[in-house]
């Protein structure tokens, strides 16, 4: 699964640690998400969508 997490985070000038705090996960998890090496659960995907104020399908796309 591809995602736009890194772009969205950069647009807001957030660090990985700041995003991690907002999501309630570790910085390592944010890094794994951004590099596409870990796909989030549905609850975490909803949380990410809420933090960025965008629908899930605007952030995550299929390969």
């Amino acid at each position: 699964m591809n995602n736009r997490l890194k772009v969205l985070r950069a647009e807001r000038d957030w660090s990985q640690a700041e995003l991690a705090l907002a999501l309630g996960v570790s910085r390592q998890t944010v890094n794994a998400l951004e590099t596409g090496r870990y796909d989030p659960s549905l609850p975490l995907a909803f949380k990410i969508a809420r933090v960025f104020g965008q629908p899930i399908e605007a952030i995550f796309t299929e390969d």
């Binding site: 705090l21 996960v25 390592q28 998890t29 794994a32 590099t35 090496r37 989030p40």
Partner: protein, 149 residues
């Protein structure tokens, strides 16, 4: 699905060390109590020892649940994956190795440290399997994070 709750920082290495420390203290207390009560004659000593060890395990398990609920989902996934593949793989390798050693025990004597009585050898075998599981688990856990970082 409850994703409306206020985000909080997941447990880090400090919480992990706390769990290890509490487990160590509990294990020490249970071990000391077992050593003391093990000398007591009759079923009362055995029953009290079993009760104390069970209580220590229950407290330890409760602390582990607290830690588990505090780590984030990727960390949980790493532990689950590592325990399933690493732990099971380690157990498989260890058990085959031990079985081979046991089947060829007449040709090659087992190390004296494993014990001489069947009960000693049985316990040593259990501990060996546990060590193999932990080794496999550790390798798989590290591999998961290396792959997903």
């Amino acid at each position: 699905m409850n994703d409306q709750s206020r985000p909080r920082r997941p447990h880090g290495p400090g919480a992990y060390m706390l769990v290890l420390g509490v487990s160590l203290v509990l294990g020490g207390l249970a071990g000391a109590a077992s050593a003391f009560l093990g000398d007591q004659p009759g079923p009362v000593g055995t029953a009290v020892t079993a009760a104390l060890v069970t209580a220590a395990m229950a407290v330890g398990f409760t602390v582990c649940v607290w830690w588990w609920r505090g780590i984030d989902e990727a960390a949980r996934e790493a532990h689950k994956w590592a325990w399933w593949w690493g732990g099971s793989g380690g157990m498989a390798v260890g058990s085959v190795l031990l079985l081979t050693l046991m089947l060829r025990a007449e040709e090659q004597a087992l190390p004296a440290k494993l014990g001489s009585t069947p009960a000693d050898i049985f316990v040593s075998g259990m501990m060996c399997i546990l060590l193999f599981q932990l080794a496999g688990y550790t390798l798989a856990w590290a591999g998961w994070w290396l792959k997903h970082r």
